[in-house]
Structure formats: structure tokens, C-alpha cells
């Protein structure tokens, strides 16, 4: 009749992670706030129909991933509309990649490189490397196969490798996250 645990438990267990995921993908706090809330509102509507065996965490990531994609799509439409009306607007985001890159610090450079990845690659990369989702789950989120999800992560790493070419990285090679 309903998912195995009460919805409050789901919120408690996953909200912070979903917020951080969206925050990384969008790199804006206001959007992360709104989209993470939207994710759970959607989940609440569908929760009753979720089977007891379902992987709730992967399911939430899929909802968040789709919402973020739709958000960027309509954002892009809005921007195109603005341009058509020739109201050229500069992005005045102080956390924006351009201003950060000047610091040249590896971590900042890495973050800005991730921020410039195509959306699907960025989502796949963050789900895999920051949140440890398996490729099956990532594929479901991105509406593609596990193999394609793996390919997205590979492409992301390649781009990061190229953009960090010649950049000294902190000696963290011995500290493997996995």
C-alpha cells in the first residue's frame, strides 16, 4: 500500500544529500533550495505507489536529476527569450566559474571545470564521484544505460584531465576515497 517507512524518515535520511547534489550541479544555493524541496514534494506525491523493494535513494536522485534538467532547459529558454529582446544580461554570480578560475587554485579550478561540463556528464560525474551511486542507478536517472552512464563519467574525467593539464594538484594521491 505504501513505501515501507514513513515519509518523514525519507526526508530525514536523504534531504541533505539531495540538496548537496543539486547544489553541486547547479552551483547556486537558491536553486538548490528550491529544487531540493521540489524533489521531495514530487516524491511525496508518488511515494504511495513506490514498491517496498524500491531503492529510495536512487529514486530520489532520479527525481532530482530530472527536475534539474528541466530547470536548465527552461532557464535556457528564458535566456534565449531575453537575448531575442536584446536585453543582454551579464551573469553577476560571484561564485561563477570565470571569477574563480583566476585564483588558479587546483580545487577551485576543478570545481569550475566540473561546473562547465555538459549537464549530463556533470550529473553523472557528481552522482558517481561525490555520491557513490552505481551506474545502474545513474543510468536510470539519466534515462540511459549503465554503459552510457559510465561513458559520461569517463568523458567528464577526460575533460577535467585536459583542463587541469599542467596544473599542480595537492598531493592527495595516496588518499583514495574508495
Amino acid at each position: 500500500m505504501m513505501g515501507a517507512q514513513p515519509f518523514e524518515t525519507i526526508v530525514g535520511a536523504h534531504h541533505a544529500e539531495i540538496y548537496r547534489y543539486i547544489r553541486r550541479v547547479t552551483s547556486r544555493a537558491t536553486e538548490a533550495e528550491d529544487l531540493s524541496q521540489e524533489t521531495f514534494l514530487r516524491a511525496y506525491r508518488a511515494y504511495r505507489t513506490l514498491g517496498p523493494e524500491a531503492n529510495v535513494r536512487a529514486w530520489l536522485f532520479a527525481i532530482a536529476t530530472n527536475l534539474t534538467r528541466n530547470h536548465f532547459r527552461s532557464e535556457k529558454r528564458r535566456r534565449v527569450a531575453y537575448q531575442a529582446a536584446s536585453i543582454e544580461r551579464r551573469e553577476a554570480d560571484p561564485d561563477g566559474p570565470e571569477s574563480e578560475a583566476r585564483f588558479g587554485e587546483a580545487k577551485v579550478l576543478l570545481e569550475s571545470t566540473v561546473g562547465r561540463l555538459p549537464l549530463k556528464q556533470r550529473q553523472a560525474f557528481i552522482m558517481r564521484k561525490i555520491h557513490d551511486l552505481d551506474y545502474e542507478a545513474i543510468g536510470q536517472s539519466l534515462d540511459c544505460s549503465a554503459e552510457s552512464a559510465r561513458a559520461h563519467v569517463f568523458q567528464a574525467l577526460r575533460k577535467i584531465r585536459l583542463s587541469l593539464d599542467g596544473q599542480a594538484l595537492a598531493p592527495t594521491t595516496t588518499e583514495q576515497p574508495r
Binding site: M1, Q37, L41, K107, F154, L157, P177
Partner: protein
């Protein structure tokens, strides 16, 4: 990366995966063998490991806890709002035409006869304010099954939690509560309900309120009739249905479909008294007193279950009515 040998190109995917801790054991082994003798790839491998380490550092610097907390707080209030609005429903074909059943997290909010139509637009749910209808499945199906059992006489109670949000006023809610308290197999009148809620002059308003009963069958407005015993209005023009619902409970009506009366001579009568005695319809002039002051009961078993005792003068216990 130009001019890479073919075998270096071929192993690139595995190399990246192995360096970033994401490869199958077989692939790791292949990569190790390759970088043993290929210095450029060995360099790449270490570079990717460095990158992986830097990515690892990224995951240890998550967003500030206070922005997470703020987002969470906003979520709680939006969730509470959604919960209060969300009503799930389903529409079922039934012998009585399509029936819509809707429930909120508090309880069942609507049972509606839709007749021929089978879409949400035909329902008052689509016009209710502050309600977000959502089509839903299994638990409402269970309600429908119980309803069918009830209609077939296989069940005498629908012990559902109710949500009276579609009631139009406090008066409406009071009428529904009083009606819900009329037991299976008993009949009273609009005037009787009006008296029950302390508004004895509001007979017509009670009838009007029950006309808009959001929970027919569950809140048994079919057990409420005219003081004379006439089966007046049910859900518009469904007097025949009212008659059937009463028949299921052992209350017979006589007359034409347009002009039906309950057959009082087949029912036990109870008029409130200190001894809590119930009577045969032949006891004194009890059968001429208005329904509402008198409650009609289908069986002695019902009278017993209500804690009533047989009248010591007419002795319904010694002369039970023919079933």
C-alpha cells in the same frame, strides 16, 4: 594526445577507470601490465589518480550546514501544505454507475455517484478549493471492495476514518456527525437530526445539508427520512437507491418508486424513555408519532446492541415481528 599508439588508445577507458577506483579486477590487471612498460600511460595513470584525490577532497567540502538546514525548514512547511491539500482518488465502475472514492491522509473525504461519467471533471473534487486531487491505487481499491461488500449486505459497518473537509460549514459538519451516529438498521428523520444537533427548527437546512453529503452510504443519509415515513430526496433523484440501501439493512418500504414510505408496521419503535424500552408498532399510538421523535429499528438484535430493553406492556420479546 595525438599520435598515441593503438594499444594505448584502446586501454584509455580502463586506465581512467582503474586510476579512479572504478574498474573491474580484470581491467585493473590489464592496465597494470600496460603501464609497466608504457611510461606515457604510467604518467597519465598517476595524473588521473591525482585528479581522483582532488575529487575526493571535493566531497569532503560540502555545502554549509546552515543552508541545508534552511532548505530543510522550507521543505517541511511546503510538505505540510501539500499534505493538507493532497486528496487521492479513484473511479470505479459499479452496479450503481461509476463511483468515485477519495481520501486524504486524515480519512475518506468523498464518495460520489458519477453515473455514466468516469472522469475527474465530472466530480466535485475537480471544483473543490484547496484540494489537489491525485489519482491513486491500491488502498482506495480496498475501500471500494468494502463498499461493495456493504452494498451486497455482506458487511454492516464501514469503519473508515472520515475527513469532512468537503462539508460546507460547521452546521453541515454537525449534521454529518449526527447522521453518522445513526446505526445500521435504524431510521430517523430530518427533524430528528435537527433536534439532535440542538437546532430543532432547522429541518429543511438538515435536508439540504444531507443533499450535499460528501460521503453517502458511509455517512448513512439514506437512514434519514421524512417524519411521516416518506423516503424523500436522495442524491437528487435516486429514491430507488435509497430504498435499496434500506432494504439491505432490513427496512422495507412500500409504495411507488416516486412515493415510497417505510413500512412502520414491520419495524420496532423506540421513543426516548428512562427505562430505555422499545416497543412493537402496535404499542399505544406510538406508530402515529413522528419519526425523529421515534427511531425505527429493523430487528431486536439491533435494539439489544443499543442497550434497549423490551417494553413491559407490549412485550416485543414475546411477540416478535415476523421477519
Amino acid at each position: 594526445m595525438k599520435g598515441k599508439p593503438q594499444n594505448c588508445l584502446e586501454i584509455e577507458v580502463d586506465l581512467v577507470a582503474a586510476a579512479t577506483g572504478d574498474a573491474e579486477p580484470g581491467a585493473v590487471h590489464r592496465v597494470e601490465r600496460h603501464i609497466d612498460f608504457c611510461a606515457p600511460c604510467r604518467g597519465e595513470f598517476h595524473r588521473y589518480r591525482e585528479i581522483d584525490g582532488a575529487v575526493g577532497a571535493l566531497r569532503r567540502s560540502p555545502a554549509a550546514a546552515e543552508s541545508v538546514a534552511r532548505a530543510r525548514e522550507g521543505l517541511e512547511s511546503r510538505l505540510a501544505d501539500l499534505r493538507s491539500r493532497l486528496v487521492s482518488y479513484r473511479i470505479f465502475p459499479s452496479p450503481l454507475g461509476h463511483i468515485l472514492i477519495a481520501r486524504s491522509e486524515h480519512g475518506v473525504a468523498l464518495v460520489e455517484y458519477l453515473g455514466e461519467r468516469s472522469e475527474l471533471a465530472a466530480s466535485r473534487l475537480s471544483r473543490a478549493t484547496g484540494v489537489e486531487p491525485q489519482e491513486d491505487g491500491a488502498d482506495i481499491e480496498a475501500l471500494f471492495r468494502e463498499l461493495l461488500e456493504y452494498l451486497q449486505g455482506d458487511r454492516t459497518r464501514l469503519p473508515w476514518a472520515l475527513d469532512l473537509r468537503l462539508a460546507r460549514s460547521d452546521f453541515h459538519r454537525a449534521v454529518l456527525h449526527a447522521t453518522a451516529a445513526v446505526p445500521y438498521g435504524a431510521v430517523t428523520s430530518y427533524a430528528g437530526i435537527a433536534a439532535e444537533i440542538g437546532k430543532p427548527a432547522a429541518t429543511r437546512a438538515v435536508a439540504q445539508a444531507l443533499r450535499w453529503n460528501p460521503l453517502p452510504i458511509v455517512v448513512p443519509c439514506h437512514r434519514i427520512i421524512g417524519t411521516s415515513g416518506a423516503l424523500t430526496g436522495y442524491s437528487g433523484n435516486k429514491i430507488g437507491l435509497k430504498r435499496e440501501l434500506l432494504a439491505v439493512e432490513g427496512i422495507r418500504a412500500v409504495g411507488t418508486p416516486r412515493d415510497s414510505h417505510v413500512a412502520r408496521q414491520t419495524l420496532y419503535h423506540y421513543e426516548r424513555n428512562e427505562q430505555r424500552e422499545y416497543c412493537l408498532p402496535t404499542c399505544g399510538d406510538i406508530a402515529r408519532r413522528p419519526i425523529g421523535r421515534v427511531t425505527l429499528l429493523a430487528s431486536r438484535a439491533l435494539a439489544d446492541s443499543l442497550g434497549l430493553v423490551p417494553c413491559t406492556s407490549c412485550r416485543p420479546d414475546l411477540h416478535p415481528l415476523a421477519v
